[in-house]
Each structure stands twice: as structure tokens, then as C-alpha cells.
Amino acid sequence: MYKMLLCQRYLRTRYIALASIISVTLGVATMIVVNSVMAGFGSEMRARIQGILSDIIVETRSMNGEFDPEGHMQRIRELVGKYISGVTATVEVHAILSYKSLGDYVPHPVNLVAIVPESKAEVGPLIDYLQSYHSQIENGREVPAERSRTEPLGWELTPAAMARRQEKAEYYRQTEKLRHQMRAQREKEEGNSSDPFAETSGEDGAAAESDEAPGQLQKGRLYVGVGLATYLSVDPETKESKTYNMIRPGDDVRITTYSAGTPAPKYFVATVVDTFKTGMSEYDSNLVYCNLEQLQEVRGMIRHNEDGTETRAFTSLQIKLKDYKDAPKVIEILRANFSAENFNVNTWEQRQGPLLAAVDVESSILNILLFLIITVAGFGILAIFFMIVVEKTRDIGILKALGASSSGVMSIFLTYGLLLGMVGAGAGVGVGLLFVYYINQIEKFITFATGREVFPEKIYYFKDIPTHVDPFTVCWVAFGAVMIAVLASVLPARRAAHLRPVQALRYE
């Protein structure tokens, strides 16, 4: 009883000891904040990767692909139909996307994924990423969504984009007409020597785009990542970031890829139908979706059968599971049935293994470092406890004279350490959780106070800082901090216990 009473009194009267646990509090709070933010980023990232990749991917080993996607999909449904909720065939190749800017073509290496939107929507939340389905913030104003979410995915332009395209086509037609007139006039004046600049631009640019009726879409249709279509730049004077649209829905771009079989360059002009934003910069600045038929045709992935029908090829099948827990079972069945010579069967996690592992390693190293901080705090407690034991030498002597055992005296200081640890860790958990809860307000405040954006959307793609509080982690961190406080009090407590009462009481 006296132990509890004394601990409680020491806790209330020794502010120096409370000061020593501030470092524990800060350490615990930091660990909780860092872990929550990292877990938030991690889970957002995983959700996005999984959204783009789908749950299980069956890839062909050859870039030529395998013929008969329907047959393979049917086979998958037969094998594991009860586990899956969707499956779609895609062709994935490397390509170059070039758009015209200031009269010049700007090329970008991209990953071109040819999809059938209807079935792609079954395996991943593509609709969540397409921007025409979501309201946008444009130069500070909110622009309402152009399509309702009930509208199925397709390769058509929104009316606004269509209008813009027609307007543009009309403008090009007019300039072309004007240019023709001017050239005709100049030819009349100078004979046949023509301006080489006028010629190339005439051939390469507008001519290719105005081949067809004004405003008619190209056969190739694309969804382009926002990282490709736009770029953010900060005005050096006003410090305001501004989005520049390099590619807008309705624009035509040129896609260069290579054919199946012996690789040979192939290109086609395609109309950008929509832009998408996943929040993963890797996807947003690298990924381009295109319509499956067009790419199959361009790459020569169509086999014309003797009976007049045609069989098309695919390079991968994306499968969505009803419950991701079934993945190992499904993988096992598929691996047994799709020969490893031709097919690679993987979960999205296995495909992104190194990236996910890197994130895990990062977070565990960070945890170790932060825990070292708490350990440092532990040494602070150790030092202050030694001081308290010295200060309390006489009281320890009194207690022993009154019959307290060594273990009783020791447990006073151990309990004191435990209580301090609990107070420190408790306060740390409180501070940490509050910080996480108000993290966006805090970020705004710091941005306001320092004038420097702490969490620029340009870099991180998230408007708000994503957080995820894992109760298990919080418990572990708090428990670890309490343990360190107790361990730090062991040595001083032993010292106190081994004081001989006479030594402690001597005053001559």
C-alpha cells in the first residue's frame, strides 16, 4: 500500500521526472503520427495499385500474346468461377505517345493498355479514376462532373469535349483553306519554289487530322493519365500553382508502338476521350488506356480463319475476386491449368512485390529509428531516477527501518517507472491521435505560418494527407514505451533496494 501511496505522491510532486517523460511522450506521438501517415499512404497506394492491376493477372510470356481471349476467359470461369466476380482481356505493350505542342511533336514513353471498358470496369474501379465522372477544381473553381456515375464506360466524348473538338476542327479547316489560298497565290507569283516550313506543317499536322469529316473521332480512342495530359507549374511571382493542359479530351495524339511477331514500328492517331487520375504518379504519368480492337488491329494480333471468322489475341487477363482471401487457392488452380511455359499467373501483390517490400522495409527502419528516440528518453529516465534515488536515500532508510523489505523498496521505484511510462505513453498516444485526427488542419496552419506548402498536391497527388490508425500498432508503441520506462527504472530501483538502512540514515 505504501508503495502505491508513495508512487502517487512522487508522481505528483516530482516535476523533474515528469519532464523526463516528455521525451517519451514526444517519441510515442511521433511514432503514432509517422506510422499512421505511412499506413495511410501505404493503404492508399495499395488500393490504387490493386485498382489498376486487378486482383490476379494471367500474363502471356510472349509479347505476341495468345489467341482466343473469350476461350481462355471461359476456361477461367469454368475453373474458378465461384471465386471471381469479373475477368477481362487486355493487351499491354510499350508505346510512345506524341502530342503536338507549338507546332512540334512532344513524345512520351508510355505503357499502353488496350482494354474493353465494359469488362475492365468489372475488374477495377476505373470509373473512380476517370475525370469526366468527377467534379474538378479548375483554377480555384469547382466544375461539376460531366457524366453521372451511372453512365457506363465507353469511348465517346462528352458533349463539351465534342463541341470543343468540332470548333477546333473548324478552325483548322479555315486556316488550311487560308493557307491553300496563300500558297496558290504565292505559287502564282514565284513559280514553283515553295516555303519548306509551310509544306511540312501542311503535310504533317492539320492534314492528318482533317482527313475525315470535321470533328469525327479517330478510330483509336484513349484514356490518358493526368500526369501525361497536364503539368502543374508554380508561378514564380504569385507563388500560385497553375495547371496547364497539354492534352484535353477531344485532342488527337499519335501513338507509336510495335507490331506483334517481328517487331516493326507501327503508329496510329487516336482521340483522347478522357483523362484519369489514380493518385499513383507512376500510373498517372505512364499509363494510357486504348480501345482493344484498334491496338489488336495495328499490332497485327488478328488471325483470319478460313471460315471468314477472325480470332484476336490478348497479352493478359485481369481477374477480380469476390474475396481477395481466396487468391492463393485461385492462383494454385490457375497455375495448374495454364502452362507455365506460356503464362505467368500472379496476384497484384506478387507483381508489385519489390515496391511493396520497399515500403515495408522503409516503415520498419523508420520504426526502429523512432524507437531509438524513445530509448534515448529511457536513458533520461534512468539518469533522473538515479538522482531521485540519491535524493530519497534517507526516505528509503526510513522505510527500511520501519520494516519495508528490499523488494518493497525496489517495487516503489519500478512502479514509479511504470506509472511514469504509462503517463508518458498515454499522453503520447493522446497527442499522436489528436495530431493524426487534425493533421490536415495542422498542415494548413503550418503552410499558413511558414508560407511554404508542407504537403503539395503536385508532389503527393493527395489533396488531404491520408492516415490510417492501426490500433495494434498504437498498442505496441505504447507498450514498448512503458517497457522502456520500466527497464530504465530497474537499475536505480536495484540501487535503492540495496541501500543499507544505516547507510541511508547516517547523518553524522
Binding site: M1, Y2, M4, L5, L6, R9, Y10, T13, R394, D395, G397, I398, L399, K400, A401, L402, G403, A404, S405, S406, G408, R500, P501, V502, L505, Y507, E508
Partner: protein
């Protein structure tokens, strides 16, 4: 009063023949302290025994070993040579736990500097020996009884109006009375007082001695008091003078 206590060369033999078993006795105890490399002898074979309900005072100059002797008797320290007996049983070589228990139940201590715990109120200070004696659960269930006991004891030493005061808010005399209340609340058999008046003025010191004398009389409490003040020592039944670690004279008071 008894006479030839310390005359025999063999105390054990003497006891068995001549004397009833003394309440507490130190037999030929020697003690030396280490100070750096040197061993400083403090007690050179001291024999002392106290009967039940006797009030013994030990006087001597500082450094004469009187406090050390009292610490040895009170099991705060162990003798290098010799033994300490309680009712004829050797107690200085008992296991640590048992000695802790004896300190708690048999001995009550009063110190020159009162030695109250500064964080606790007077009431809590007085309750400390009971808290130490009983487990948390035991204490909690009987706390009313203990509190009443402590309160009665505090009333007896005349501090009933200062229950919740911290030691720092009490005067020296009040602190010493509180210390006596703390020593007595555990109902000890032997009270060991180490210069109980050393830090008090003459009048307050006199009050404390009177209190102890009363307790000795009424409760049949065995008291061993260390002091260097002859007039205070004269209150005791018997006085032992220590000089440089040896018993010098024995006088019988009153």
C-alpha cells in the same frame, strides 16, 4: 533495580544461571566501518541487555558508538562479531525477510531528525508501518480500523489538530511527536530512540521525554534511548555510558 549484569565473562552461562531472560540483549558485539582503505572500529565488544519494560539510556560523546549500538539492536545493521538476542533467541542472523518483519513488528524507531516522509501527511506518515505490514488488500479492507488507531495515537501525542499537515508544516517538537506516534502505532515491544531530543529546545525535549516515560510506565514499553544529554538520560531507569566503543560505567537512576 538489577545489579550485576555485565560482570560475567560468559554471558550465555551467566544468563542461564543468574538471570531471567532479558527482553533484548547485545552480546559482545563488535562493529567496524570501512572508510576507504581503513577499517574504523566503532564498537569493541559491547554487552548490553535490557529487561522488559525497562527504560535504558545510553550516553556517550559523539563517535562513541552509541548510535551504532542501537542500530545493531534494532537490526538496521549486523554486528561483525557477537550477537543480538530477542527474548533469548538470536535475531541478527535471521533471514533478511524475517529481520524486516521484526523491525516492523517488534521495534519502533524514533530518530534525532524525526525522519518523517516529506511527501506524506502526518496521518499517512503514522500509517506507514501498518501499510508496510499489511498487503494492499488487507490494508484496504481494514483501513478504517487502522485510521482510527492512527488517529487515537496522534491524539495521544497531542497532534489531533494536525492530521493532514505535511511534515514541513510542523514544528520540530510536533515532528518528533509524530515520529513517536508512527513508532507506536505498530504496537512495538521495544522503542529505540536515537537522540530524540537532540534537535529540540530544552522545554520541547522535556515534553518528549515525559511522553516516553509515560509510555514506558503505562504500556510497559521497553525503551532504549541514546542521548548525549545527562539530564535527559537521568529520566531513564538505568544509564549506560559508552566511550570509544566500550561500556564505561553503569549507573542506576532513581
Amino acid at each position: 533495580m538489577s545489579t550485576t549484569i555485565m560482570t560475567s565473562d560468559n554471558p550465555l552461562l551467566r544468563e542461564s544461571i543468574a538471570m531471567p531472560v532479558p527482553h533484548v540483549a547485545a552480546l559482545a558485539v563488535q562493529k567496524a566501518y570501512r572508510k576507504g582503505e581503513h577499517s574504523v572500529p566503532v564498537l569493541h565488544g559491547v554487552d548490553i541487555s535490557v529487561r522488559k519494560a525497562e527504560f535504558l539510556s545510553i550516553i556517550g560523546q559523539s563517535g562513541s558508538g552509541k548510535s551504532t549500538l542501537m542500530h545493531l539492536i534494532g537490526l538496521l545493521d549486523t554486528p561483525d562479531v557477537g550477537e543480538v538476542q530477542l527474548e533469548g533467541q538470536r535475531i541478527d542472523d535471521l533471514p533478511v525477510r524475517t529481520r524486516d518483519e521484526l523491525r516492523n513488528r517488534v521495534f519502533g524507531f524514533v530518530f534525532q531528525f524525526y525522519h518523517l516522509l516529506p511527501e506524506l501527511s502526518l496521518m499517512e506518515n503514522v500509517l506507514t508501518p501498518l501499510m508496510i505490514r499489511h498487503s494492499i488488500w488487507n490494508y484496504w479492507t481494514r483501513r478504517r480500523e487502522f485510521q482510527d488507531r492512527a488517529k487515537a495515537m496522534i491524539d495521544r501525542v497531542g497532534l489531533g489538530h494536525r492530521l493532514t499537515h505535511k511534515p514541513s508544516e510542523l514544528s520540530g517538537g510536533e515532528m518528533q511527536r509524530a515520529a513517536i506516534a508512527r513508532a507506536l502505532v505498530a504496537q512495538p515491544e521495544i522503542l529505540l530512540a536515537d537522540e530524540p531530543t537532540g534537535n529540540l529546545d530544552a522545554k520541547t525535549g522535556r515534553e518528549i521525554i515525559d511522553l516516553m516515560a509515560r509510555l514506558n510506565e503505562r504500556e510497559q514499553l521497553t525503551i532504549i534511548m541514546v542521548t548525549h544529554d545527562k539530564s535527559i538520560a537521568a529520566e531513564a531507569h538505568r544509564t549506560v555510558r559508552l566511550c570509544e566503543g566500550r561500556i564505561e560505567t553503569l549507573t542506576d537512576a532513581a
